[in-house]
């Protein structure tokens, strides 16, 4: 593969093509990821959107996108991507579109869609080897409706539908593993707070064709319960505690781009967030904090042993 144009922070785009003044919340980690992704992909991109927070980016008569946008429905954005991609290919083949009129198709969904109602359409798009980028902003709940529990909500997190002492009783679904089990062209985890890593991964994704996952952790101030000014810090803590591994899947194997050394204790990440406050107050719940720590430790042990 040819060398990255993004060698250092100074190589990152200095101006953004996504317009400002959107309806997203202050400190939205999802919007940050979309902005950075868009800078690398460029404006000949069509975002095919499923219902979620980002649906409110384009509200008639305004849009922050300099390229195209199609809102579909919650369950079937990948199928919308399929229709656009197929039609572009048909027209390129027929000669009714020039090569420079082609578009990069990006499906833009939240984690509720990606792990639940839209998973069937996503899975089928991978089966068909659809040439598209699937950008999931993972704010770990149904954020747009007020942070109800989704399949991506982490164990123990309180949400609007798991408000009682225990928080989310289940485990966060591993969307990255679901994708890679189906052997896509590419999959990567990214974070707006790590822009250089993100830009390199989008650069790689852009150079490939076929199904490509970009899974962006999206710290969510109102949904997770922290001040908007701490959004970048919370994201970085997710990486440094090992809770959110930065990794990519390419040529059939998973590579971890950053193995946190030393790994900070998970409570450094949990404690600043209101959704985990019940683990610390009124009494510290060592048992559950220990469980969360043990799960993270087990993950990285597997990585060190070459199994993840």
């Amino acid at each position: 593969m040819k060398e990255s144009q993004f060698k250092a922070a100074r190589d990152l785009p200095s101006s953004h093509i996504l317009g400002a003044g959107t309806a997203m919340c202050a400190g939205c980690g999802g919007l940050g990821a979309v902005r950075e992704v868009y800078d690398v992909l460029g404006k000949d991109t069509i975002f095919v959107n499923a219902a979620g927070c980002m649906t409110l980016l384009s509200v008639y008569p305004f849009t922050p996108f300099r390229g195209s946008w199609l809102y579909t429905a919650m369950a079937s954005a990948p199928a919308g991507g399929q229709g656009v991609r197929d039609a572009l290919d048909i027209r390129l083949e027929q000669g009714s579109l020039r090569k420079d009129e082609d578009l990069q198709v990006v499906v833009l969904t939240g984690d509720g869609t990606a792990n639940g109602i839209g998973l069937s359409a996503t899975s089928a798009a991978i089966d068909r080897q659809l040439d598209f980028i699937y950008l999931c902003y993972d704010n770990e709940g149904y954020g747009n409706t007020g942070q109800q529990t989704s399949a991506a909500t982490p164990h123990g997190a309180r949400t609007a539908t798991d408000p009682e002492t225990g928080g989310m009783p289940g485990r966060k679904k591993d969307l990255f593993a679901i994708w890679t089990a189906n052997r896509p062209t590419y999959a990567a985890t990214v974070l707006a707070a790590e822009p250089l890593d993100l830009a390199r991964k989008i650069e790689t994704a852009r150079s490939l064709s076929g199904p490509r996952l970009i899974l962006a952790l999206a710290p969510c101030p109102p949904g997770w319960g922290f001040e908007p000014s701490r959004s970048v810090e919370i994201g970085r803590l997710a990486v440094r505690t090992g809770i959110f591994p930065l990794k990519e899947y390419i040529d059939g194997r998973v590579v971890h781009n950053r193995i946190p050394h030393p790994r900070l204790p998970v409570e450094d990440y949990l404690k600043p967030q209101q959704r985990f406050a019940h683990l610390f107050e009124p009494q510290r719940d060592d048992k559950r904090i220990g469980e969360i720590q043990a799960a993270v430790d087990a993950y990285w042990l597997e990585v060190e042993n070459g199994h993840a």
């Binding site: 954005a77 229709g83 578009l103 359409a121």
Partner: protein
């Protein structure tokens, strides 16, 4: 032009082929599957240039269809029954996208109980979606309706999806002689896909289906869709007139059969209307002034043509192959609302439900319906809607219930499937 003996499904595939479709997103469902299999075979044999893709559901299939049409290709797809309902969210959505495409629905009754056989509850569930609807009665009409539907759908003042409906089994699997236009004639009638400035392509940013805030913007776009559907009434007449000029086959939005001097009219849609025609002929032979009125286009509802066909009649019988539980026949409501307030409107508009889930409507029933209308006209009293069901059918049902160990719930009542108090199995 060639003559061929074709099933309704083969006729639908031929319609798509003659329309030179670019794109077919597909999902199988009985009794539609033969359509997509036929087209798939033709693509494999290089008889057709079309990209076909199998989706994982009708919901996705309709999403892909609308998205492709938004990107500038002539798009065709097909479904039936449960599939149409599974995709219902996207039917409303793609109508709002204002995209031209043609969807075939092969009508089949809806669950529960699950069945494979035809009635019209599926297509009528899409009545208010914004998609236009043409209802075929013969295999010939299936081919012709698809060509007309594309002409209509691609008109700039319309730009709405058109659903072409044909009945499962009685058309989908029934061979009839069909006259197939040759490729050149079809291409003359239906020119190449009409591109739109808002199509997605690089260098031309476009936003489609963005959110609106507030009722003002929402109402505006909804009214636009409604006005486009109304504009389809005249656009349809133009498309049908040109079709007649070129091919000699006439498709008025409302077909009237021996209806001009009729005192009593049957109103029906779909293939069973051909049974009504037979009944009309025999009743005419017996000296009764009776006719048939068959809306070929149901959305937009050609109100003026319907009124013209029905005002001045002494009595009408609307025969619905659908059932809106708690209301009755859906067409009956449509027809009476069109006539309300008209001078010389028929005082008697009787409602019949029949032909559900593949049940036949036999000629004796048409005779009985005609007799009911005459009696109601004479007495001035409109009887309650009738659910067609014969003594023999009830006897057969009782035998099945006995076999299923179901106890009858009362005097002559028929157990509903859902709540039947079955000890072992439900029917």
């Amino acid at each position: 032009m060639t003559r061929a003996l074709l099933t309704g499904n083969a006729a639908a595939a031929w319609g798509a082929r003659l329309a030179r479709i670019d794109y077919l997103p597909a999902f199988p469902i009985t009794p539609q599957t033969e359509i997509i299999e036929t087209i798939s075979r033709w693509i494999g044999e290089d008889e057709m240039r079309c990209r076909m893709v199998m989706l994982e559901s009708e919901h996705s299939m309709l999403t892909a269809a609308g998205a492709a049409a938004s990107t500038g290709v002539r798009t065709f797809t097909a479904t039936s029954s449960q599939g149409l309902l599974y995709g219902m969210e996207m039917l409303y959505t793609i109508a709002g996208w204002r995209v031209p495409l043609v969807l075939i629905n092969v009508s089949r009754g809806l669950s529960a109980p699950i069945t494979l056989e035809p009635d019209h509850n599926d297509i009528l569930a899409a009545r208010d979606s914004g998609c236009l609807q043409l209802h075929c009665a013969t295999c010939q009409e299936v081919v012709d309706a698809i060509l007309i539907a594309y002409r209509l759908s691609e008109q700039p003042q319309v730009r709405l999806p058109v659903i072409v409906n044909l009945d499962g089994f009685s058309l989908s699997f029934t061979r009839e002689p069909v006259s197939l236009p040759d490729d050149q004639a079809a291409a003359h009638y239906l020119p190449a896909f009409r591109h739109d400035a808002a199509e997605f392509r690089g260098g031309h940013p476009a936003s489609k289906a963005v959110a609106v805030l507030g009722g003002g913007a929402y109402s505006y776009f909804r009214y636009e869709t409604h006005l486009a559907a109304l504009a389809a009434i005249d656009a349809y007449d133009d498309a049908a007139r040109e079709f007649e000029q070129q091919f000699g086959r006439r498709y008025p939005s409302v077909e009237c059969y021996r209806n001009d001097d009729a005192e009593i009219s049957f109103v029906m849609i779909g293939s069973f209307a051909t049974k009504a025609k037979d009944a009309v002929d025999r009743l005419r032979d017996a000296g009764h002034k009776i006719g048939l009125v068959r809306p070929f286009m149901l959305r937009p509802l050609p109100e003026a043509d319907l009124r013209k066909a029905l005002v001045g009649k002494s009595g009408i019988a609307v025969i619905d192959q659908n059932l809106a539980p708690g209301r009755g026949g859906i067409l009956h409501g449509e027809v009476t609302s069109v006539l309300y307030g008209q001078q010389e409107r028929p005082a008697t508009v009787l409602s019949y439900i029949g032909g559900l889930g593949g049940r036949d409507i036999v000629i004796e029933e048409f005779f009985q319906i005609a007799a009911d209308v005459r009696a109601a006209v004479a007495s001035g009293a409109t009887p309650a809607p009738r659910l067609l069901y014969t003594r023999n059918e009830l006897t057969d049902m009782r035998k099945m219930q006995a076999a299923a160990h179901v106890e009858a719930t009362g005097d002559g009542a028929v157990d509903g499937t859902g709540g039947a108090p079955s000890k072992e199995t439900t029917a």
